[in-house]
Amino acid sequence: MSKETNSKELDAELFISSSLRVGVYLSAVVIAIGLILLFVTGRSGYQTDQFPTTVGEVLSGTIYLKPSAITSLGLLLLIATPVFRVAASVLLFLFEKDYLYTVITLIVLCILIISFMLGKAV
């Protein structure tokens, strides 16, 4: 019994650690590419003190390889990482049939989504 739960917990921890690693490394690489492009070309792709502030602007700027847009894309990926981690945990607990923690993580995910929507409204 205890052995079984131990191996299950180990899986859960490795899974969450890996999902965080993917998000962190991916965003770090994208941010680094944006900054290197900025230093090499010497321009941000926008006027001084200007940068994209919506997801749409970030994506369209990235297509045109604007250094500031690429860096912002990396930052958005970084910001999304904890949310991605919570969403991955919901699936993980569901998969493990740990319904108590499926509900707990689902509550966290819902509150996060609500706070994102509230943030837009404010």
Binding site: I31, T53, T71, I111
Partner: protein, 275 residues
């Protein structure tokens, strides 16, 4: 362009990420003064960058802490229901309540906790902890391998209700004031729930990213997250946090607490001044 400035921001962020990973804080106490006072970055961009710093510290450190089971993910997930709800409450009551009064109340609470922590400065691990029945139902008590003690440490969880209350308060305060969410999380787990210090800082680290991500969208659309500032911050913090996790796992719980107490007093005084 300003390559020199970016390198300076990167260097400060290394330190912030290192300390943040060690102590379970977001690094805002280093990032904000370093950017505004030393480098002349506008305050709103410094705050935006510190939100990014919190997320980078949290995710960067959690890769190692979660894998090595120092983070208690069940405690983290359970308490996140309180911190995120608190953060929303904070956003709602902003403007309704005097932040001055709140700052003073929380500063006094921090000073009280500093003395409580100082009293147990000689205890390496919590002893004689009675497990709370709810902790048993939620499978919160756990164990981890301590690289400093070179032994497996089993621990029990108590004080669920006061701990949950402190987490809710930590969420409210970070939603309202934008600072100190990490400190209160560490305190709630160390002082009330009686977890080993390492588990408290690592689990706090795990949680602060989620709380910060909830408010990051607002800062982004408001134009507070300048890629030229927040980009170097993110990279510096990520590298610093990775180094911090390697050092923290080899430190004693007592040493960690001794590093934490002066920072606690510093934050308390800063909040008192704000009030």
């Amino acid at each position: 362009m300003h390559t020199g400035l970016s390198v300076m921001i990167f260097a400060f962020s290394l330190v912030a990420g290192f300390l943040g990973a060690l102590l379970g804080l977001g690094g805002g106490i280093i990032i904000i003064p370093a950017l505004t006072l030393a480098l002349g970055v506008p305050i709103h961009e410094a705050i935006g960058a510190s939100i990014v710093s919190v997320i980078a510290t949290s995710s960067g450190a959690a890769i190692a802490y979660v894998r090595d089971k120092i983070t208690n993910i069940r405690i983290g997930m359970f308490l996140e229901t309180a911190t995120t709800l608190g953060a929303i409450t904070g956003a709602f009551i902003a403007g309704l309540i005097s932040t001055k009064l709140l700052s003073i109340i929380f500063a006094l609470l921090l000073l009280y906790s500093a003395s409580a922590m100082f009293k147990k400065r000689h205890s390496e691990l919590p002893t004689g902890v009675k497990e709370h029945p709810l902790a048993e139902r939620l499978h919160l008590s756990s164990e981890y391998y301590d690289k400093a003690l070179k032994e497996n440490v089993e621990y029990k969880v108590s004080g669920i209700y006061p701990g949950y209350g402190v987490m809710y308060g930590a969420g409210v305060i970070s939603g309202l004031l934008g600072i100190g969410s990490g400190v209160f999380k560490v305190l709630g787990m160390d002082v009330f729930m009686k977890l080993p210090m390492k588990v408290s800082t690592a689990t706090s680290n795990f949680m602060i990213g989620v709380t910060a991500a909830a408010s990051a969208g607002v800062y982004f659309s408001r134009g507070d997250i300048n890629p030229l500032v927040a980009g170097p911050v993110a990279l510096g913090v990520l590298v610093g946090a990775r180094v911090g996790t390697k050092i923290m796992e080899r430190l004693n719980n007592q040493t960690l607490r001794l590093i934490f107490i002066p920072i606690l007093i510093y934050i308390a005084l800063e909040m008192l001044l704000k009030g």
